[in-house]
Each structure stands twice: as C-alpha cells, then as structure tokens.
C-alpha cells in the first residue's frame, strides 16, 4: 500500500480500477496464495499448531464460498484477515472467556511480516528487561523448545528449581509485556 492517505478522512474510499485487477482465477489460487500468511497470523496469536490449524481451516471454510472472484488480490486478503479476526475472537470467547489476542486493523498489507506477527519484536523487548536467569529459562523453554529437564541441566539447577524459575520469569515477563514492570 502506498502511503498516500488523507490524514483526516475516516476510511479511504477505493475506486474501481478502470482496468480491473484480475484477482484470482479460482478458489484454489486464493487458497494457495493466502494460506501460509493466514496460518502464520493465527499461529502468532494462539501459539500452538493444533489451534492454528483448526482456525485456519475455519477461516477458509467460511470465507471461500461467499468470496467473489472479481475482487482484487488486496481485497481478498483484507477479507480473509477480517474473517480470521472474527474466527479468532470467537475462539477466545469459547475457550478462555476473554480476548487474549486479536488481529488488529493495520495499514500494512495482511501478508507483510508486520501484519502477520509483531511477537518477535515484543518478545525481544520483554526479554531485554528481564534478569539474566529469567531470560534464559524463557529462551530455553519457549524459544528453543527444550524440555524442563534439559533446561534445568543447561542452567545447572534442579528440575524443581527450573519450574519455579520459569513460573516467576513468565509472571515478570507478563508484567513487562503489559507495560507494568521494570
């Protein structure tokens, strides 16, 4: 998207191109071109494969049939992102009874890295502000995917201590992440 916005206008009004964007030839093309960024967008907001797969499937099952193939690529992507937003909100309502994460309105195209996930930047920001051992346990467990036993060994401590460390580290990280902590 080019940065050519009217700063005061509420929503930009988009014109029908004189030569219409040919969009996608069929639903398979819509799927192939968009499934990856859509999955990654959802994964970034649920953090596990099983839920990300279920929600991705739900988005496509809901969105493809009513989709007009006359829509441009950009419009199809905006529509898929909007559908994903609805599906994710419903997921949180049903599982935890509150919205944990959401798919925001953004300026960037839905398939851009900034739109897919800001988790890496946010995590870097949070980890930077944690004491060394807290940061390390979270890196070992969440980023590297090590078991608690492996992590304890790497930190030179017991499994019980590693658990306590992880528990405290996450609490502190959550405070930092929500803007409270140090």
């Amino acid at each position: 998207m080019t940065a050519h916005h009217d700063p005061v206008g509420p929503r930009p009004l988009r014109a029908v191109p004189a030569v219409p964007d040919t969009g996608y030839p069929d639903w398979e093309a819509v799927y192939q071109d968009n499934v990856s960024w859509l999955y990654r967008t959802l994964f970034a907001r649920v953090g596990n494969r099983a839920d990300a797969e279920d929600l991705t499937a739900e988005v496509f099952l809901a969105a493809l049939r009513p989709l007009r193939l006359t829509a441009s690529v950009g419009e199809v992507r905006a529509y898929l992102r909007a559908t994903a937003r609805t599906v994710l909100a419903a997921h949180w309502r049903e599982t935890l009874g509150r919205e944990i994460t959401s798919i925001e309105d953004i300026e960037q195209p839905p398939d851009s890295e900034e739109a897919i996930s800001t988790a890496p930047q946010r995590v870097a920001h949070v980890l930077d502000r944690l004491p060394d051992r807290y940061r390390r346990i979270l890196e070992l467990r969440f980023l590297r995917g090590n078991s608690i036993k492996e992590s304890a060994a790497e930190l030179g401590t017991t499994v019980a201590n590693a658990k306590v460390l992880q528990h405290r580290a996450l609490r502190l990280a959550a405070q930092v992440n929500d803007g409270g902590g140090p």
Binding site: L13, V35, A44, A57, L61, T86, L96, V123, F142, A174
Partner: protein, 231 residues
Amino acid sequence: MNARGLRRYLDDLLAGRRPKAFEPNDFEAAQIRTAIELRAARPGGDEPRSEFLTDLQRRLAEQMSDEPPDVPPKHSSTRRQVIVGTSAAAAAAVAAVSIDRAVIGHPGEAPALAGQLTPNDGSWQQVAASSQVPDGRMHPFDLGSLTGFVRRVDGKLEAVSGVCTHQGCRLWFDAPEDRLRCPCHSTSFSPTGHVLTHQLPIAPKPLPTLMVREVDGAIEVLAPPRPDEPA
C-alpha cells in the same frame, strides 16, 4: 484465580498440545498472552505443515464442489463444518464493514446493469422539457413514485433510478466528478448506473435503468402511477 488451569495451559502450549479451556483472571490472561508470543517468536516455528495444507485443500475442494443446500453431505462432520463456516462468514461480513470492500465492475462476471425498470402499471410521464436536457447534462427528476436522472449522450436519452441500491438513500449528482453519490455510505455510481466506489462488505447492485423517450419537445419516463393517484 486458577493456578492449575494456567499451569496446564502453559504445559500444553510448551508441549505443542492443544491447550484446554479454563477461566483465567487478568494476570493469568496476561501470562498466557506473553507465553503465546514467546512461543510464536520461535524462529521458523510458524510454518504450516504440508500435510495440513494438503488436507485442508481437499476439504475445501469437497466443500466447493458441494451442490447448494439440499444435497446431504457425505460425512456428518462436513455438515457441521459448513454450518460453522456459514455463521463465521456472516460474522466476518459484519467485521469486514470497517474495511473497504471488494468493488465490482468486472464486465464478464456480475451483470453490468441491474436491468431495466418496467413498472406494472407504467405510463409515460414527463420529467423535463427537451430544452432542459442538453447533451451531457444530468437532469434530476422526481415523479413522486419514482426519482431518477435523465441525460443525453450523443443525442440519445438515458435514464437511471435515483435511489441507492444499498439501503435506499436518495442519490445526488456530483457534476465535477461526473458521478451519482449516496449520502449514506459513500457509494457512488456512474451516470449509467455502474457502481464506482463503495465501503460495504458486498458491492451493491448497479442502478436500474429507466425507459425514456422524447415526444413533442418533452422528455418522458415510463413510471408507475403517483402515490396519490392510484391506478
């Protein structure tokens, strides 16, 4: 406070299992959010599995080849998925209102025009004197039963309805931009009735055209009887 629910949620998340539902408080929710972000920040950890991609494509192919409603689905699970899908699509349509939606105008697909309005008890009613409609000028009219715009292009008369096909607000003609505009939702139409811009989840229909003729220095439109003069 639900320490056990949180612990189990985090264990599942870390083990790559589907986490189980519970009711977290604010701080627990914040910890889950942070845990999700930590997990999602794992480099390369967010690529979809190829088996999943293939399987979903197969399910979609099944759905897309389904005959509309009446045909019973092959598997009972398909029906549920389709129902879930439909309600989510409806919800998404609402959610998508904040987004500028797909605009039409593709000649091959949607009908370029909504068709001609031909009232059941139509009669030719004068909407202007010929002199009021020189070439290229858009002339609004209101017959009580019908409002619209008439203009002349290369000597030939054309008329379209003056009511927005979305929710019925009355259109006005933006002469500098050469388009009919709806005051309600920023929809705009070309003088021939094609949708030019809109902000709706689904593009509104084009404007119906009206039958128009010129007789003895008068321009007439085939219109229904006036509301105060029932046929």
